[in-house]
Amino acid sequence: MPELNEIVHQPVRLRIMAALVALEPGNEVDFTYLRDLLAVTDGNLGAHLRKLEEAGYITVNKVFIDRKPRTFVTVTADGRQVFHEHVAALQSILNRK
């Protein structure tokens, strides 16, 4: 039976993972785009991304484009699997209602 994941279940992190999983596999999303999409602050998003990166669920890729630093975020294969398991766990809890 799938189990809930404590790292993913935190509301902001759950929304980050949902946004990243909605992308085509292999696609990276810009940090500022993610910040605007989720309506969170830079600091808040950065802290949650660090937590997810430490768990190995996402990859943060810092690059220079036109000499300007840019940060792109993508979900890892592990992250995708953990997210789907978490969703399955939520659905099984809901089914008990």
């Binding site: 189990e3 809930l4 404590e6 279940h9 509301p11 759950l14 929304r15 949902a18 946004a19 999983v21 909605a22 992308l23 085509e24 292999g26 696609n27 990276e28 999303v29 810009d30 785009y33 999409l37 989720l38 484009i65 792109f72 969703v87 939520l90 659905q91 809890i93 809901l94 008990r96 209602k97």
Partner: protein
């Protein structure tokens, strides 16, 4: 970790909402603009074709096509600022190859069916462009394909039922429709 069914329902609804919002914002940011660019090209080109004669029409189409290509390139680079795929080279090659082959097939079909009048040639080109749009939407870029179905229906209706106003219909209904749809997607969807 234990949560109630109500909390689970709330979390699932939140997930669904964010996933939809993400897909929609990525698709609409480029799709609506490309729709409006194509609409402006169609509107200008076909309305000029209806009312003008001679070489000027050819020059207008060439000018509009060049302008459209430049705007499409700018749009592509703008989209890559939001979302990018480091391994997207293969997809780009597939997209280019698809359009190249479709162009060759379209020319071959025109040569086989020759002689064609201006309206028949327009139908051929529009049909091949719409086939390309459908392939892009369903297989490569995952953008909506239903506007192409409506456009083909409009073009065929104009060709068979109002041949004297064929170019005007494509220009105003097809081109104008694309502009309107692009605006709706961008600001209301």
């Amino acid at each position: 970790m234990n949560i109630s069914p109500d909390q689970a329902e709330e979390a699932l609804a939140d997930i669904q909402k964010i996933m939809q919002k993400t897909r929609h914002s990525i698709a609409s940011s480029s799709f609506s603009t490309s729709l409006m660019i194509t609409g402006i090209i169609w509107l200008t080109g076909f309305v000029c074709t209806q009312f003008l004669t001679g070489e000027i029409v050819v020059y207008i189409w060439i000018g509009m096509s060049i302008l459209g290509s430049i705007l499409a390139s700018i749009l592509g680079s703008r989209q890559s600022r939001l979302v990018r795929n480091p391994a997207a080279g293969a997809t780009t090659k597939r997209v280019l190859l698809t359009w190249l082959l479709l162009t060759i097939y379209c020319l071959a079909a025109i040569v086989v069916a020759w002689p064609l009048d201006g309206k028949q040639m327009t139908i051929f080109i529009v049909l091949f462009v719409m086939i390309g749009w459908t392939i892009m939407g369903l297989s490569l870029l995952f953008t909506p394909v239903w506007p192409s179905v409506i456009l083909v229906a409009l073009v065929l209706a104009g060709y068979f039922f109002l041949p004297d106003f064929f170019y005007l219909i494509i220009g105003i209904l097809g081109g104008g429709g694309m502009i309107a749809l692009g605006l709706i997607i961008k600001y209301r969807w």
